[in-house]
């Protein structure tokens, strides 16, 4: 999973909101219920300071667990179960602090409340349901032991015990399950959204490839169709004009093949491929380059190479091809014994020619806008 995908950022924001909600509930419960219960039940305790100590221990565990939960970089020392053990101890301490007759009163807030701590402690764990179940079980056993010690195991007290136990467990496990489900839903939505985006991107890429293919097909057709039509209509293949046209068509097809190759310097690669073909025709070609070609869009490369390519294709016995490149200028020239022809001047490049001493010089230049 990439963290940068916007869908996941949204999902993470939802996750954060649900963890904050869990922390807020636990804090509100501890301050709004446990604290008043301790203060107003002060007379119910055998050892009130012990109850206060339990409340403080609970608070410390709660703060540490919340900090660890809200800051992914931090971890609880000794893991969540160590803190969960301490939480159970704080619950047990409150039971011990209470007078035996007050064990089912509001003053014994600990055993009903420690579940909220467990909620935060086990929050990030995959095994949170089983962790919570084990925690609730131990908590219930501690309370039962406390009741046994206070000699309060009759039906009425057991009934009260079960009501409080199931009430608090339902609230705590329910909150955890609800928030986790919320989290899961957000992740599902994010995953769906990113799958959809990927599918759209794939489709767009396929459309682009298809469009490129059509464009290249049109170019290949343009390169080969006229001369093939001419030959089909009975043109004499030994006619120099037909041969020149064939050579130009072949060079254009070569360029189309070469320019899609994945080469570090596509312009030079295309130029070399064309030179190679023309050399095979028996023309002596001298290719010289100076400088490093800056990255150029395909249209510029095509425009830049068009006139030199035709001059090369029309060369009879010799050609000197040069490529001079600086950061903002690329110039290709061909000096060959080709006959003069109508030089193509594509958009975006400047083409110059000169004929002297039986040699045709063509220069095609692009300057950065």
């Amino acid at each position: 999973m990439t963290v940068t995908a916007p869908e996941l950022l949204v999902a993470q924001r939802y996750s954060k909101a649900s963890t904050r909600a869990a922390v807020t509930i636990a804090a509100a419960w501890h301050l709004g219920s446990d604290l008043p219960s301790t203060i107003f039940g002060w007379s119910e305790y055998r050892w009130p300071l012990l109850a206060l100590g339990a409340w403080i221990l609970y608070s410390v565990i709660g703060v540490a667990a919340s900090v660890a939960l809200l800051n992914p970089g931090r971890r609880l020392p000794f893991g969540p179960w160590a803190s969960a053990g301490l939480a159970l101890v704080s619950g047990a301490v409150v039971i011990v602090a209470c007078r035996p007759e007050a064990i089912m009163s509001a003053a014994n807030w600990g055993w009903g409340s420690v579940g909220w701590l467990a909620l935060i402690l086990f929050w990030p764990r995959r095994t949170w349901p089983s962790d919570l179940a084990v925690f609730f079980l131990i908590n219930a056993l501690i309370m039962l032991a406390g009741m046994a010690a206070a000699d309060s195991l009759d039906r009425v007290w057991i009934g009260k015990f079960l009501v409080i136990l199931f009430g608090s467990m339902t609230l705590q496990a329910g909150a955890s399950a609800g928030a986790h489900a919320f989290d899961l839903a957000a992740h599902w939505a994010a995953d769906n959204s990113s799958i959809l985006a990927r599918a759209e991107a794939t489709q767009k890429a396929a459309e682009q490839v298809h469009a490129d293919r059509l464009r290249r097909y049109a170019q290949a057709r343009q390169a080969a169709a006229p001369v093939l039509t001419r030959l089909a209509e009975g043109a004499d293949p030994s006619d120099p004009d037909v041969r020149h046209q064939c050579a130009v068509g072949a060079a254009r097809l070569r360029r189309l093949i070469a320019e899609t190759d994945d080469a570090p310097n596509p312009l030079l690669h295309t130029l070399r491929a064309c030179v190679f073909d023309i050399e095979r025709r028996g023309v002596v070609v001298n290719l010289l380059t100076a400088g490093t070609v800056p990255p150029l869009p395909l249209e510029v490369r095509q425009a830049l190479i068009e006139a030199p390519l035709e001059a090369l294709a029309r060369a009879r016995t010799q050609a000197r091809v040069t490529l001079v490149a600086t950061a903002n200028q690329v110039i290709i020239s061909v000096l060959s014994d080709a006959e003069e022809f109508v030089v193509p001047e594509p958009d975006g490049v400047r083409v110059a020619t000169q004929v002297e001493g039986g040699l045709l010089w063509i220069e095609s230049g692009w300057t950065a806008p």
Binding site: L288, V324, Q354, W361
Partner: protein, 235 residues
């Protein structure tokens, strides 16, 4: 070094490790109708050539790569001894060309250059005249465009570019609407500008002195160019 023209052939010493290239050079020299050059020594190491008759050569033709080792590091000491070094190589990338020139070599010829260019170069160097091979011209154009303070004028640059593209000087003149002599001047002046960068060497001083004598540049130009060299990049 103050001879105007040599009344004898230029004495050339060749340091080359490939016999076939040496034979090619011999045949070019022999084929020159004016018999302007004579090979007086050859060998496959600098020591083999310079310890013998090669010590008195007018021009030292040095293959840049001898037995797989690049000789750029040896060029400064040769130039400091007052030797006119012409480097020739298959490495024709502009960086190599410039490093060779900065090291003090008079000229750079690629092995792809024609017999005519090769002999012209050797003779020009023997007379302490600047000679720019087309390959060098390409390297100068690119190097000049790549510096923060270009030294070449637009016309010098254009002349060098057309020269690199393979036009002869007459065609360059026609293209630029100037005389052939002016084309020659533009190209040579460009060379002189770059001769004044890099390491100082007696051969360079002679080259610059000749350039002033020929009216190619003025002494003021040199001061300006040397100040560039002082803070310019040195490899």
């Amino acid at each position: 070094m103050d001879r105007e023209r040599l009344d004898r052939p230029v004495r050339l010493a060749v340091v080359e490790d490939l016999p076939v290239v040496l034979e090619g050079m011999r045949s070019w020299v022999a084929a020159d109708p004016l018999k302007r050059v004579e090979i007086i020594a050859s060998g496959d190491t600098l020591e083999a050539v310079l310890d013998g008759p090669g010590a008195d050569a007018d021009v030292l033709l040095l293959d840049l790569e001898l037995n797989g080792v690049l000789m750029i590091g040896r060029i400064p000491e040769l130039c400091a001894q007052g030797r006119r070094v012409v480097v020739y190589s298959v490495h024709e990338d502009e960086e190599t060309v410039l490093n060779v020139l900065k090291a003090g070599a008079a000229t750079f010829i690629t092995k792809g250059e024609s017999a005519e260019h090769c002999l012209e170069t050797i003779v020009a160097v023997a007379w302490d005249r600047p000679y720019v091979t087309p390959t060098m011209a390409g390297a100068l154009v690119v190097a000049d465009a790549g510096t923060a303070r270009p030294m070449l004028s637009a016309r010098e640059r254009e002349a060098l570019l057309l020269w690199f593209q393979g036009m002869n000087k007459q065609s360059v003149a026609t293209r630029m609407g100037i005389t052939e002599a002016t084309v020659k001047q533009y190209i040579e002046r460009a060379r002189i500008k770059y001769a004044s960068t890099g390491r100082a060497a007696p051969t360079k001083t002679t080259l610059l002195a000749r350039a002033i004598q020929d009216g190619l540049i003025t002494p003021d130009d040199i001061i300006e160019y040397q100040s560039f060299a002082a803070d310019g990049p040195q490899n």
